[in-house]
């Protein structure tokens, strides 16, 4: 008995062949019903496989490769998280129907766009001592933040540390003309302070990279890594179960 492994939600009809999935299986479309006119034409791209793929580097790369091939066939795509699956096409359609409006809104947001991922690092507090202290978060022996209250406190401190990052406002302002959407994740794991997931128009990735290079402050205490373009993984709505 097989299961239907889901790669992405597509916002329009593919321009060419869907190709194969991570097990070499042919991909097909499962239409998404409901959601009004905005969801018309949306479909899930999926393939039948015998069992879940193993969680290893090759499988992750194969998943991403399939998503990228699909992205090249459409203008709007929401990648599925690795391991997404349905019992069969009927189950998939039933699961997606209640979320069709949210999917349509997300598809509209990412249409014509791709994602750049910018991680910002800083070792030292901002100049002038403006950065708040950044004590270690309370964690149990496995490294887990141990309560909801503590989690919220960690997030608050992470946001405060990010707000104190010198040069961040200038960097964001310089990138703004190229950025159509942003998701920001502060971190409590110094020197990693912030990950910015940016939507840019397709074809603008190189211009974005050059803008980052030009705007990144010439400071030893603020570093960055940049990767992309990616399919818009960070702009897909989560938890459609």
């Amino acid at each position: 008995m097989s299961l239907l492994y889901v790669y992405a939600i597509l916002g329009d009809a593919p321009r060419g062949a869907l190709g194969a999935g991570l097990a070499g299986e042919p991909l097909r479309l499962v239409p998404i019903a409901g959601g009004g006119a905005g969801a018309a034409g949306a479909a899930a791209a999926a393939g039948e496989i015998d069992d879940l793929p193993p969680l290893d580097a090759d499988a992750l790369r194969a998943h991403d490769a399939a998503v990228r091939r699909l992205a090249a066939q459409v203008d709007a795509i929401l990648p599925a998280r690795f391991g997404s699956a349905a019992r069969d096409a009927g189950a998939l359609a039933r699961a997606l129907e209640p979320t069709a409006e949210a999917l349509a809104a997300a598809l509209a947001r990412v249409r014509g766009c791709e994602q750049m991922t910018l991680r910002l690092y800083a070792d030292a507090p901002a100049a002038g001592g403006a950065a708040p202290p950044f004590p270690a978060a309370p964690r149990d022996v496995a490294g887990t933040v141990t309560s909801g209250t503590q989690y919220l406190e960690v997030r608050r401190r992470a946001r405060a540390a990010v707000a104190a990052l010198a040069g961040l406002d200038a960097l964001r302002a310089a990138l703004a003309p190229l950025v159509t959407g942003e998701r920001a994740e502060p971190h409590d794991t110094p020197p990693l302070r912030l990950t910015l997931y940016h939507l840019v128009r397709r074809g603008n990735a190189q211009a974005y990279a050059e803008a980052v290079r030009a705007a990144a402050p010439e400071r030893s205490d603020l570093r960055y890594t940049l990767s992309g373009p990616w399919p818009p993984y960070a702009f897909a709505p989560e938890a459609l179960t």
Binding site: V6, A44, L52, P54, L55, D56, A57, L60, R61, D64, A65, V67, R68, A71, A72, L78, P79, A80, R81, F82, G83, S84, A85, A86, D88, A91, L92, R94, A95, L96, L103, T117, Y121, G143, H187, T189, P191, L192, T195, A205, Q206, Y208, A209, V212, R213, R223, Y224, T225, L226, S227, G228, P229, W230, Y233, A234, A236, E238, A239, L240, T241
Partner: protein, 82 residues
């Protein structure tokens, strides 16, 4: 509900232990972002919580290792969506 394959914590630990920076980016995107669909199927992704916990710590460790700004240019990424 059908029960399908299980990912063990060992698998997740091994994936992270062997990951280079580009694979970490892939883990971040494909394993902790994206639409989650589990439709009438139970997936035993038991090791994934470990990845969520350790991923940013690994990025932070990479930030300590690389002394200066480090960048992977878009043209080096595995694909072009334009």
């Amino acid at each position: 509900m059908r029960r399908v394959g299980r990912v063990r914590r060992d698998d997740a630990a091994r994936l992270l232990a062997e990951a280079d920076s580009s694979l970490l980016d892939l883990v971040d995107h494909a394993l902790s972002k994206g639409v989650v669909v589990q439709a009438e199927v139970w997936l035993g992704l038991g090791g994934v919580d470990l990845i969520y916990l350790r991923l940013t710590a690994l990025f932070a460790a990479a930030g300590r290792i690389f002394s200066g700004a480090r960048e992977r240019a878009p043209e080096e990424a595995p694909g072009d969506l334009s």
